[in-house]
Amino acid sequence: MKRTVCTTIIATLFVALLFTACNADASAGLFRQLADAKAPVGIRYRQIIGKDATDLYYLTDNGIYKSTGPSSTIVRENAKGSPVLEAYLDVTGANNYLIYLINTNDGAMVYRYNQSNKDDDNMRVTSTLTSCKIKALLPNGSILVQGLSGGKNAYAVITHDYENDTVKSEVVFDDLDGFALDGILFQSGLQQVSTNFILSFVNSSKEYKHFFNNKTNEIKLNSSLAAYTIETKLYLLTKNGALYGSDVPAGSTTATSMGKNSKMYPSNAFLYAVTDGSTTHLLTKSSNSEEGIYVFSFTKGSNAADSASGFAIKEGYARQMNNVSIVSAFEKTPGVILVATERNGMFDLTINAANANKNDTSNGSSSGPENYTI
């Protein structure tokens, strides 16, 4: 009896030993991840909408809020069953309209919310495309529509005058039969104010087309893009962690491979550029929320092949970026940004550009969650 029990126990332990420590796929050690775990703040951020003279506006699962930093108030609560999906703060007129997109039974609709009289007005979005449907409200206020041009699949980016509810301009991306939208990319931190954007399309053969601002400015790169930024040159980050650089497109351009990491990035990943005058650092946040910030560094203005070096950063400005998912960013001044996370609140990041790729407190600092200033 005793021998049988002992033999069984020893055999079980031996078999189990063969399977010990198979933690190869983890982004960090299990107990390290636990130690870094952060309590949710109870706010599910979706987007930092923009800032007027006094308030920062942001979108959560509950609706649109505005904040002075220390205190927040709700501006427009989501109606049951039709949450605001995307929003824009129009500070061009006198009314500081909030523009938002919701899904209805008739498809996506763009509304204008007047903060003074609380009116919600449906915007008349018109296009040169036929059979036109609204696809997205972009963070800079433009509206992306899909339809037909000359009987072929086409998209258009419409700049709308929200004060007068009229179309100001339209940029058409036509002749896209077989292609579907793969991404609408904006510069992290500047998406609320920048007129620049990249539209990416893909077909069933995994052929990609990337257009910068208009159809003439095509970027030749057959890979799915996660993010881009401009710092003297245009830098592109693919979803599989490759960094490419090119001149800012004026016509067709081909990007050069500058480096690659082994991380995966979501569409519209966080990608923020700082420069100390001689070196440019691109701060990135991968799909894996457990990872901190990964920085690509290279000579300012360069897009030379394989010229970027990579650095994993967890200290300083990245100290609180472990175990968070960044959903939106807002640049207060160059090197000082607000980042909104999916579940862990909003943070202030101050980046010391001279040491942005050093994994210590000399690279900057962060404050938060929810302890931010505007």
């Binding site: 029990v5 126990i9 775990a37």
Partner: protein, 197 residues
């Protein structure tokens, strides 16, 4: 010093009492136990940095108070000691509301210096635990040291209370993760129902 001496003396007396007392069990008797209780994450020690973080919740071990259930089976190999094994399931929510789980299964040696209507047991366990949290999961080593008592109002069924310390190390083969190698300590507090024969 005085306190330590008192505790040591009490332990010696307890052991002496046990050795001097008449045994209730014989070789071949068996114990079946069912346990439920709670677990208190106590510390995490990171080997490479020598950092020790203690306590429950955010900016500490990251784990919250959890729960444990287990079953054990032991056979007496002498009138005062039993060998066997235990398997259980532990869960602790983390500060981010994700779940940490551990399934320990281990060989167990128990010494019972006092036995009869009241059993006092000191046991040690050594084996493995499958642990999981978010994208990290591994089979790792497991050790524990526990003590407790069981009250038998009748001949066969008893109710007990046990506490101790679990030690769960994490050794990663992956170079990128070696810096996170650690040892976690968890204190259980469990109620048990035991059947003996």
């Amino acid at each position: 010093m005085k306190k330590s001496s008192t505790i040591l003396l009490a332990l010696l007396l307890l052991v002496a009492t046990g050795l001097g007392a008449a045994n209730h069990y014989d070789k071949g008797n068996q114990l079946f136990s069912f346990k439920v209780g709670t677990t208190f994450p106590t510390f995490t020690y990171f080997f490479t940095t020598n950092d020790v973080i203690t306590g429950i919740g955010e900016d500490k071990t990251g784990m919250l108070v959890g729960g444990y259930g287990g079953i054990s089976y032991q056979v007496f190999n002498t009138p005062y000691s039993a060998i066997g094994g235990e398997i259980g399931y532990d869960f602790n929510f983390a500060a981010d509301q994700e779940l940490f789980t551990a399934v320990p299964f281990y060989a167990k040696y128990t010494y019972l210096p006092l036995q009869g209507k009241w059993d006092i047991a000191i046991s040690s366990g050594l084996g493995f635990a499958y642990i999981k949290y978010k994208d990290a999961q591994l089979m790792t080593l497991y050790a524990n040291l526990e003590t407790g008592f069981t009250w038998f109002p009748g001949e066969h069924w008893g109710l007990g209370l046990t506490t101790g310390l679990w030690l769960i190390p994490e050794f990663n083969y992956n170079d990128a993760l070696k810096k996170d190698n650690a040892l976690a300590g968890i204190i259980p507090l469990t109620f048990s129902v035991t059947y003996r024969q």
